[in-house]
């Protein structure tokens, strides 16, 4: 079906020659969901590179025992900014970017429900991010030389109180994230309204692509989970600047309250981050297995279940705080419960591949890697949900290994799958498969080299957030090994970025539907015109393009 015999056409514009000011203005003033989505993804990639460089510096510091590449203070700033950036300025805009670009296309709409709110969301997110990074210049206030926040990405009280965290660095953390959180909420409300209100005729909720379903539940989690963080940050700023006593233990305040508020946000947040990967896998695996998704209703049900259960598991981050044994039991049980719908998803993706005609293109390779790696991450997650086990390994490298396995080996791998899958739709050209394979193998080998040994180091007793260690504890080899893995990952990401730029100009012309796919976005041109569809689509099944391509055997006959 994929036809590539016509030349690539880009939308024709009025001006014939390139003019910087016109182009610049077109991007700044745009309310088009595709441009905004692209800007979200590109800014996320830029922040990914910045935070990745920070991670590399930390790995270089930890490569040898008793190393002095960076000062302890710098190391604190590095891990704080690395974590904050990865969560709020890479993960969140990736959610917004993918949902912005593809939700309207997949439900057959011309734009988001509130295009201007969408533009507002993007710019407020970006300026929130820039505000956070301005801390490098302005963090010390007028008297200091300037510094970034150094309180860790979850910024536990009372370390963040005025007495212990002088200067403006912590304020930049709180306000930058508060501001970009407003953008995330705006974008999430927009996605919900778009999904519920702008579906094309015939696109009932039960026919909606699973990608859209996952993004809908993701947006639900964002609007429920982000306000608690904002509330906590408002209280923190009241404490720091108005002398309030929320987290001031000397005035009767409670430092544990901050932990509760933060993790009420923080645990749904990790599901918010991983959901785009779930969404992408649910689209990519069926296409490359040539089979419809196995157990579609169960998949949607599992996602909705996660969307509710994950709101009640937060205190498993706090087993070491000393809660009552009833709370420990409750949160251990609920944390294990959330593994059930996740297990359903893993099972269904695997079952989709079973008996399928699998094409091992790069997007599918990343999906396969995701399945194995995310399963591993889930299993260490179950281990950490056992409270006594967590007491042993709390704040150790085991935990660092666990969440890097979910977020890098899981989320980032899934995002790469999505980027290889949809790049032809966004640009009209294929990403190079050869470079893609190099990227895939180097990345997967590198990340396993880095993150698997972190579990061993945790079991050997290495605490997280230490800037160096003495030799003779059995930590040297694995730290060295991890750092080599980090370098391999960096090479892989460099290949990916080269691939993205090279293929934009020289890639093979893709055509509208290079993967022979079934969802609506492949039914318009690549890249899609500003209005997406000349005529709004009408659908009668979950696979509208399959129906078009196989008029003798359409899906709607079986609904």
């Amino acid at each position: 079906m994929a036809s590539i015999d016509y030349p690539l056409e880009r939308p024709q514009t009025q001006e014939s020659q390139f003019s910087f000011s016109v182009t610049f203005f077109k991007w700044v003033a745009t309310v088009d969901h595709k441009r905004l989505g692209l800007m979200y993804i590109i800014s996320a990639l830029i922040f990914l590179v910045i935070a990745g460089i920070m991670a590399e510096v930390m790995r270089m510091q930890l490569m040898f025992p008793n190393n002095h590449l960076v000062e302890p203070d710098t190391f604190n700033r590095l891990f704080t900014m690395h974590g904050t950036t990865m969560v709020f300025l890479v993960g969140m805009p990736m959610v917004a970017g993918f949902s912005n670009y593809f939700v309207p296309l997949m439900i057959g709409a011309r734009d988001m429900a509130f295009p201007r709110l969408n533009a507002f969301g993007f710019w407020i997110f970006l300026f929130g991010g820039l505000l956070l990074y301005f801390s490098y210049l302005g963090g010390g206030g007028l008297s200091g030389a300037g510094s970034a926040p150094d309180v860790g990405w979850f910024a536990y009280a009372p370390l963040t109180e005025k007495a212990f965290s002088r200067g403006g660095a912590t304020d930049y953390w709180a306000l930058g994230i508060l501001v970009s959180g407003v953008g995330s909420i705006a974008s999430a409300i927009n996605v919900i309204a778009t999904t519920l209100s702008l579906r094309c005729p015939g696109m009932t909720l039960s026919r909606m692509p699973v990608f859209v379903w996952v993004m809908l539940v993701d947006s639900w989690l964002i609007i429920i989970a982000l306000p608690p963080l904002s509330a906590g940050q408002i209280m923190l700023e009241f404490d720091r600047h108005l002398g309030a006593n929320f987290f001031d233990t000397q005035a009767g305040g409670s430092a544990v309250l901050w932990q509760h508020i933060f993790w009420i946000f923080g645990h749904p947040e990790v599901y918010i981050l991983i959901f785009p990967a779930f969404a992408i896998l649910s689209e990519v695996i069926p296409i490359f297995s040539r089979k419809p998704l196995f157990g579609r209703p169960a998949m949607v049900g599992a996602v909705v279940a996660i969307g509710f259960i994950s709101l009640g598991v937060w205190a498993h981050h706090m087993f070491a705080v000393g809660m009552t044994s009833w709370s420990n039991t409750f949160f251990a049980a609920s944390s294990m419960l959330v593994g059930v719908p996740t297990g359903i998803k893993i099972f269904n993706w695997t079952a989709t591949m079973y008996g399928g005609k699998i094409r091992f293109a790069t997007p599918m390779l990343f999906c396969l890697a995701f399945l194995f790696q995310f399963l591993t991450a889930g299993l260490t997650g179950i281990m950490l949900a056992v409270a006594p086990f967590d007491w042993q390994l709390h704040d150790s490298y085991f935990v660092v290994g666990h969440f890097h396995f979910t977020l890098v080996a899981g989320l980032v791998t899934g995002l790469f799958a999505g980027m290889y899958y949809w790049y032809p739709k966004i640009t009209g050209r294929m990403l190079s498969e050869k470079l893609g394979k190099w990227h895939f193998w180097l990345f997967v080998i590198g990340l396993n080299m880095t993150f698997i040994p972190m579990h061993f180091l945790g079991l050997l007793g290495m605490p997280r957030r230490i800037y160096t260690y003495w030799p003779g504890r059995g930590w040297e080899f694995w730290n060295f090994f991890e750092s080599i893995g980090a370098i391999v990952q960096a090479i892989a990401v460099a290949i990916f970025i080269y691939n993205v730029i090279y293929s934009y100009f020289r890639g093979e012309v893709a055509g509208d539907d290079p993967w022979d796919a079934w969802t609506l976005e492949w039914g318009t041109s690549s890249p899609p015109p500003e209005y997406n569809f000349e005529k709004l689509p009408v659908v009668r099944s979950a696979r509208p393009l399959w129906d078009l391509k196989h008029p003798q055997d359409p899906d709607w006959k079986f609904e």
């Binding site: 429900a113 309204a193 519920l196 609007i223 306000p227 009767g252 689509p537 009408v538 509208p544």
Partner: protein, 201 residues
């Protein structure tokens, strides 16, 4: 290449009967849900910190139950409904009257809150930094008051364009959404009132 239209058998019938929810309604409902989440944290914090203040003044010494302000705010929910009802039937004069009454009730509520705070700050010397009661009280009541201010600002906008002769009945949807927000602000007050002035005292 121009994309061929994607269509399915029975498309005309489907297009004719296809209905989806109003996007503005969905947007406002989920805005209210996200606001609820924000208030929940402040309310929970207030509840957790009841009786945890290490020094006075304590709620039972200084707080007076704001009956009048509560009556004002809650009845404004009713008057905005009357205004909306009048607008539905294109009775613009009546709409303006009820709208102005609603705004006056909202302003009266803000005035009462302001005088309450004045008394607390200058007479009872309770500020946000005095004790945990002060911190939680001013942040929760202040958060609610700020929502009243936002609601009043939008109501002022509607009033101004109406008085300038803009045909406001063409924007019935938006007036309706504003009234939902206003009802939400009132409902939050019921919670705040219960927590601060009944349980907290």
């Amino acid at each position: 290449m121009a994309a061929p239209g994607i269509t399915a058998p029975g498309a005309l019938e489907l297009e004719r009967t296809w209905k989806t929810p109003d996007r503005g309604a969905v947007g406002v409902i989920f805005l209210i849900i996200t606001e609820t989440s924000l208030f929940t944290i402040f309310v929970a914090t207030y509840l957790i910190y009841i009786g945890k203040s290490l020094n006075g003044p304590y709620p039972k010494d200084v707080l007076e139950v704001p009956i009048l302000a509560t009556v004002c705010l809650l009845s404004s929910s009713l008057t905005i409904y009357f205004a909306e009802h009048a607008l539905k039937h294109r009775r613009l004069g009546l709409f303006k009257i009820w709208w102005i009454v609603t705004m006056c009730l909202g302003l009266e509520f803000l005035y009462m809150t302001g005088s309450e705070w004045y008394k607390l700050i200058y007479h009872d010397h309770l500020t946000i930094s005095t004790n945990l009661f002060g911190s939680t009280f001013y942040s929760l009541v202040g958060l609610h008051a700020s929502h009243v201010v936002v609601g009043l600002s939008f109501q002022l906008l509607v009033l101004i364009v109406t008085l300038l002769g803009f045909p406001i009945h063409t924007q019935l949807r938006r007036v309706l959404f504003l009234s939902w927000y206003w009802h939400f602000v009132d409902a939050v007050w019921v919670v705040v009132f219960t927590v601060v002035y009944i349980i907290g005292r």
